[in-house]
Subunit: 377 residues, 2 copies
């Protein structure tokens, strides 16, 4: 099969390399690149030229960002070409449109690489759903923030210091907002909930990040046998679902607490299979490239053809996600009990209610940090 | 598709239940049971009767043990019927014969449920191998021994006490030898190495268990930031491979160290995807039943048809697995350095050499316990 790659950054180059070195029967014949970077005879700056090439049957989109990725993906699907994408932003924003276009034209839509890098998460959730209802999912879905929190904990370093090191190593962007404010995890959570629950997931989910996490916060939780991880979570029961992104204070002896560096660990709970966890590199040229090539091979071999049918009647109900929340803040909060020096716990909030309370506290104390308390097993 | 279940114990009943409640298009029409237990119109005590039923296209074998399971599986494959089995003992003993019969008749051979219960390990390794060479695998593959070690560590209890509790809960057999001496893990390691490396794995692998593990041993390792887990491991490089089963003293902050209760966690390392870990229930009616039904669905839908081609020229080379070994023993050992009270460390042994040293020490001190020291990252 002849395929085109849109975007020749880290991931695009990884895909090209893996296919050239390790895959028979698939050939990258076209690459979309910027006009001033056309360094390879396969490259063009014109997407129309790629669309006009009847031999190209599949398009790998790894440009990132919403536009022009959205337009290119829709055009590919509408022309009957299969699409494999690692672009979480565009899938989170337009999953339902892509799914409908895919169903209409019969073209395949593969999004494994958009969540969890090399972790075989999306295909595994689809497989679980052949037999089980997925009652919940939860996980570390962002390598950058896990690297930061893990280094803060193991080295006793503070946030700014570790972030700077992560930027130096290329694990964090120069503008780290998408990672540290939970936007990247929000996109991955929307995609995961859509696949896990078979619903076009609500996009306006409660989300907060780790921008204000300090070494003292980690010490406070460590003294109570916990550490903090940024988790994307979703739950479904009784015809309703909810999802959220927030720092969670997990037990220090949980698997999540011990995930090192920039790895990801994502859990699905199925009715008969119980708890399944999937761990691997959450980013990087070769792991993410591997996830894309696995999707390409599924498509070429016909062994997997995901059909995203978002006609489910599940209703979004944010009250399904409840927890006790710890806030380290100078703000005065009603209904709060002491948790530790400078910190209080507020009992039994919804994730949405907690996000509103965080905003209230941030208005008084912009350094406020909030984490949900994971229920002890 | 009409299928037969051979053996109606915990797993067989789980398969029957899951198919009846959750799967369309598959029907259990025949069940092989003992003559005095024929409580269902689908049951027969005659395998010949099942083989004579032309409508049965697939046989689920979950009887356990080597015979008559081997004879029944061979007969099914030779008659062109697909086989799905959870029986690690018979697959470890006769994988090459089954694979050859499967290739000859074109019938499918599915062994997901033989390793790791509900953990999607075998299919995941096959998927990794579409792109990557698997350079190594390693994991907790036995829920009973993990339950024992985890309870000893968390509750500070001793081996015999926890074993008795595990037997009471049904996690351990009345005769626990297969679990605590590493035989069960040996079978799973042979199967995993065969799938991961594409070779009919040597069966005479070094193997030891946790029968002699004491609370004092765990305390000794805990003081050095480690805990003990029984691991099956394999490695392949330069046209050679090795595998072994032994207790390993892993870092206390590794994921392996923190696997609770009777869960399994198995790791594969691929060239491009890096480290992948898979976690789930290692046993039980519904998780193992789920793994079997996933195999059945792969077969029915045609989405996965494993072909085990064991013509690889990989040579078994036990010198590939080397480590430092700690022995808690009253025996006098040459080349040993002190490790702690009553314990010594012997440097750079092969797994086979360590197993021989353990036998030597056991001859003097039958309470000797040995564990490999995992390399610190």
């Amino acid at each position: 099969m002849k395929i085109a790659i849109l975007g020749y950054g880290t991931v695009g180059r990884g895909v090209d390399q893996i296919i050239a070195e390790r895959v028979d029967g698939v050939e990258v014949t076209r690459i979309l690149e910027l006009p001033d970077r056309l360094s390879d005879p396969r490259m063009t700056a014109s997407y129309d030229e790629i669309l006009a090439d009847e031999e190209v049957e599949l398009v790998v989109e790894c440009m990132g960002g919403v536009e022009p990725a959205r337009t290119y993906i829709m055009a590919a699907l509408e022309s009957g070409r299969h699409v494999v994408t690692s672009n979480k932003a565009v899938v989170a924003a337009h999953f339902a449109d892509f799914a409908a276009a895919s169903v209409a034209s019969g073209a395949g839509l593969f999004v494994e690489a958009a969540v969890g890098g090399g972790v075989p998460w999306i295909a595994s959730v689809e497989k679980v759903r052949r037999i089980d209802d997925v009652s919940s999912f939860s996980g570390i879905m962002n390598g950058t923030t896990n690297y930061i929190v893990d280094a803060m904990r193991r080295q006793g370093a503070d946030f700014a210091e570790v972030l700077a090191e992560a930027q130096r190593l290329g694990y964090a962007e120069r503008d780290p907002s998408a990672d540290i404010d939970g936007i990247d995890v929000l996109n991955k959570t929307i995609i995961s909930a859509s696949v896990a629950f078979g619903v076009a997931c609500e996009r306006d989910l409660p989300a907060s990040g780790i921008r204000n996490l300090t070494k003292a916060d980690l010490d406070l939780f460590a003294a109570r046998g916990r550490t903090v991880k940024l988790l994307g979570r979703g739950v479904s029961e009784g015809g309703r679902y909810a999802a959220a992104v927030e720092p969670v204070a997990v037990a220090a002896d949980s698997l999540e607490a011990n995930v090192p560096g920039n790895f990801n660990l994502i859990t699905a709970v199925g009715a008969t299979v119980g708890e399944l966890k999937f761990y691997g590199q959450g980013a990087g040229s070769l792991p993410t490239g591997n996830a894309i090539v696995q999707d390409v091979l599924d498509c070429v071999s016909g062994t997997r053809r995901p059909v995203y049918d978002f006609t489910s009647q599940l209703a979004y109900d944010p009250t399904l996600l409840r927890a006790d929340y710890v806030l380290r803040t100078a703000a005065e909060l009603g209904d709060a009990e002491p948790y530790g020096p400078g910190a209080v716990v507020v009992r039994d909030l919804t994730a949405a209610g907690a996000r509103a309370l965080l905003d209230e506290a941030l208005a008084t104390d912009p350094t406020t940090f909030m984490a949900a308390l994971a229920v002890e097993e």
